[in-house]
Amino acid sequence: MKITFSRGTIIVDQIDGKKPEFLSYDERIKAYRAPAFRYYELKKIYNEAEDTVFEDKILDINHNETLRSYQKKAIEFWKNNEFRGVVVLPTAAGKTHIGMDAITKIKSTTLIIAPTIELIQQWRDRLERVLKIKVGQIGGGEKDIRDITVSTYDSAYLMAEDLGNKFKFLLVDEVHHLASERFIEIAKMFASPYRMGLTATYERVDMLHEKLEEVMGGKVFELGYEEISDYISNYHIIRIPVDLEQEEEEEYEKNRSIFVSYLRRHRITMRGPWDFEKFILSSWNPEGREALIAWRRAREIAFNARVKVDTVRYVLSKHRNEKTLIFSEDTSTAYLISKEFLIPCITYLTPGPERKKYLEMFRSGDITVLATSRVLDEGIDVPDASIGIVLSGSGSTRQFRQRLGRLLRPSEGKNSILYEIVAKGTSEYGTSKRRRKGVPDSINDN
């Protein structure tokens, strides 16, 4: 019996005894086939079979970092689950440390997957510094494959057919993304028997996180903010309501009413993202188009109210010299802020090398303010960023927690503030309320 890897699947040439349910006979190749993630189970059943899936390689890697008690515990739980499973910890709790420790425990070929170029570059820099080895990168214009490699989700998805048997350990950062319909294929097409997922926000509104149980090994460890408050920075959330100018208000009302009457006429109720998707699907007719354009325009007015720019001006002058991140929901606002305050902005349109450069400038203090749309919401580690300004955002609690998390890396005497600038009398107010649900206004505030 021979077990081989072929383009995201495992092929077994013949079966001795009872066929496992997950293995199907493939008439096209006259052999048995299963998605590659089943390799782990196949090995348990057919341990004696000739196996050409992985090239055995032991890496000589160690680190001198000290883990906090809960980090050690997380590793212990993951080990006890046969080196598989998801660790859920709040942002700034040091998930990267856990990941690095896991890599040195496995000591084999490892692929680290993260959602953005910033994050893979951050992983790469840190791994090279701590493990003192050269780390490969796939994504952001690079395709350098090494024993330890970082990749974006997109590149891992596109290259899963070729890379699926190159890494014994799959370490997935912000693993909640992996549960999406598209990215779950990465987990299925990689044969990696060892897997670890890291996230601060495991549960998804669409419940797709339930799929991670089968492909990643399920949740093995979880802690909340309250349990690690000693390790994160103090913070406060301050909402600044701003008035629209009269002209903006009229324009807002006009567009909002076009949108609302369309919804009423077509009996569409907006209860969640699914309803909005239904609205978008129904909007490809002149009437629907008008409603969609009106919705966009109203949103644009609320997001980009002229007075918001002046409020940013006020906050920046109040916190002069403090490291500040300005978040917006759309790229055009990020560019508007960049032009107004002559500061760099990072959006999905910013090329990889430029992104890296701006983040380095920000970390080193060559610049103190950075504007961004959604690309820096997750994972980016800027220990001394202490001020955040949410100029616009979605109603997602996950996004809000992630943005807040950018400010929570602890440092000496740090007191972080997250400002939310919200246009009064617009739907943005309700959005802000939704996203803050369950997030305490401050922590360590005795």
Partner: protein, 437 residues
């Protein structure tokens, strides 16, 4: 191919889908969008997008306007709004501004200084700051195209967009059996057949309905549209109100009347033929891509990609064991690496080198006489011959320079190198030149 949201289909209750095609009856869509673009020369992409939104509001089917506009953007020449290098402008600004200016006066002052450094105005600095952003690009001109041709492009892309959602396909190939099998293999798909129809899917399709092979299906259909007498039933996975559902999409050769199939047919040099006969092994049928006859021997050729090389090589070895002449070559794209032991070509088949290799392998003895490549050997007088030989000996061991020199002189390398005292042999597609000892 269009983005999925621009796919325009009609769904039937029976679970089938049809693409919406443009024809003479609805050519107002193409002509109005062409007109909009013609009148927008000098405007930025962002401004044109706004005008497209206005046009969408007036149209019965806004998706068509959006999709046709996308085609025209692809055919447009755009230029940045400033002559300044945006990267340099940003570098200058951000290295200058550590703490952002909060008053308009300090902002003006900074911009004035940067403008002085760049020998321009503050307004130009702001214009140039993001001059590489797509929405800021200025429309300079659009490629002339007849509405009818634009409609055909639109239709073709609609078909391809639906095919991106394909999960499997049944093809009744007519007289194109071998050709279609070759295409299926070339696009990395798998198949079974019952002698009448071919059933196509991808490796992961066995257990799940995945649309990750959509691009391969789409390319396959693009090639099918150039053939006669075929029909296909495609299973596509599309979103509806309840989630994703399978639909049937029917295609056949008659669709090509409405589609743009302008892409040139594959050019095959003299001597080579598209292979029409499958090679039958004990329990397997192999469909080679090409064939060539050398020294009264038919040699079959398989063209593969690095990803499938190992699998195909085992088939080739099996055929050779059965006494069949089967050769395998690999095409590389971008920065793909040549699999170990493979003979690879970059981007396209190098027919010249392929033939040279085959002649060397199959007609060693008659090599010089049998060459039928695209150039004739130059007649050389004795004095010239001596000069060339001397020059080659001087160039040695820089073998690449020797080959470049012979190429420049228009000379067939093996014969003259032998005469000059060099032993020549092939290693893969590389010519190895060594001095006789």
């Amino acid at each position: 191919m269009f983005p999925t949201q621009l796919m325009i289909i009609r769904r039937s209750k029976k679970g089938t889908v049809k693409s919406l095609f443009l024809n003479e009856e609805n050519d107002n869509y193409t002509s109005s969008v062409i007109e909009l673009f013609r009148s927008s020369v000098g405007k930025s992409r962002g401004e044109i997008e706004e005008s497209i939104k206005e046009l969408e509001l007036k149209s019965q089917n806004p998706k068509i306007v959006r999709a046709v506009s996308l085609l025209l953007f692809r055919m447009s020449k755009m230029e940045p709004p400033s002559r300044l290098d945006p990267l340099k402008v940003r570098e200058k600004i951000f290295s200058y501004v550590r703490v952002p200016p909060v008053s308009p006066e300090s902002r003006e002052e900074i911009l004035r200084r940067i403008a002085d450094d760049l020998e321009t105005t503050p307004e130009d600095v702001i214009r140039g700051m993001y001059a590489d952003k797509e929405s800021e690009q200025i429309l300079v001109s659009i490629q002339e195209i007849e509405p009818k041709k634009l409609m055909k492009r639109f239709n073709m892309e609609q078909v391809e967009t639906v095919m991106l959602k394909a999960v499997r396909m049944m093809i009744v190939p007519g007289n194109n059996f071998g050709r279609i099998i070759r295409l299926i293999r070339r696009y990395g798909l798998l198949y079974t057949d019952d002698g009448k129809a071919i059933f196509v899917s991808g490796p992961m399709s066995l257990d799940e309905n995945v649309d990750r092979y959509g691009l391969s299906f789409s390319l396959l259909v693009r090639s099918l549209m150039k053939m006669e007498g075929w029909s296909a039933e495609v299973t596509v996975l599309l979103k509806n109100n309840e989630g994703k559902k399978e639909y049937i999409y029917i295609l056949d050769h008659s669709f090509s009347e409405y589609l743009n199939t302008d892409e040139p047919e594959e050019q095959i040099p003299a001597g080579f033929l598209l292979s029409n006969d499958p090679v039958k092994l004990e329990n397997k049928t192999v469909y080679p891509d090409y064939e060539i006859t050398l020294d009264n021997r038919k040699i079959n050729i398989i063209i593969t990609r690095p990803r499938y090389y190992e699998d195909d090589l085992s088939v080739v070895k099996g055929c050779r064991k059965n006494g069949l002449n089967l050769e395998i070559f690999c095409i590389l794209f971008n920065k793909e690496k040549c699999p170990s032991g493979a003979i690879c070509f970059k981007d396209n088949i190098d027919w010249y080198r392929m033939k040279e290799y085959l002649i060397t392998k199959y007609e060693k003895k008659n090599f010089e006489d049998q060459r039928n490549l695209n150039f004739k050997e130059r007649e050389l007088d004795e004095e010239m011959r001596k000069k060339i030989i001397l020059h080659l000996q001087n160039l040695y061991p820089d073998t690449q320079a020797m080959l470049d020199y012979l190429d420049f002189m228009g000379l067939e390398p093996v014969k003259i190198l032998n005469e000059a005292g060099f032993n020549v042999r092939w290693k893969g597609l590389r010519l190895i030149i060594e001095k006789y000892h």
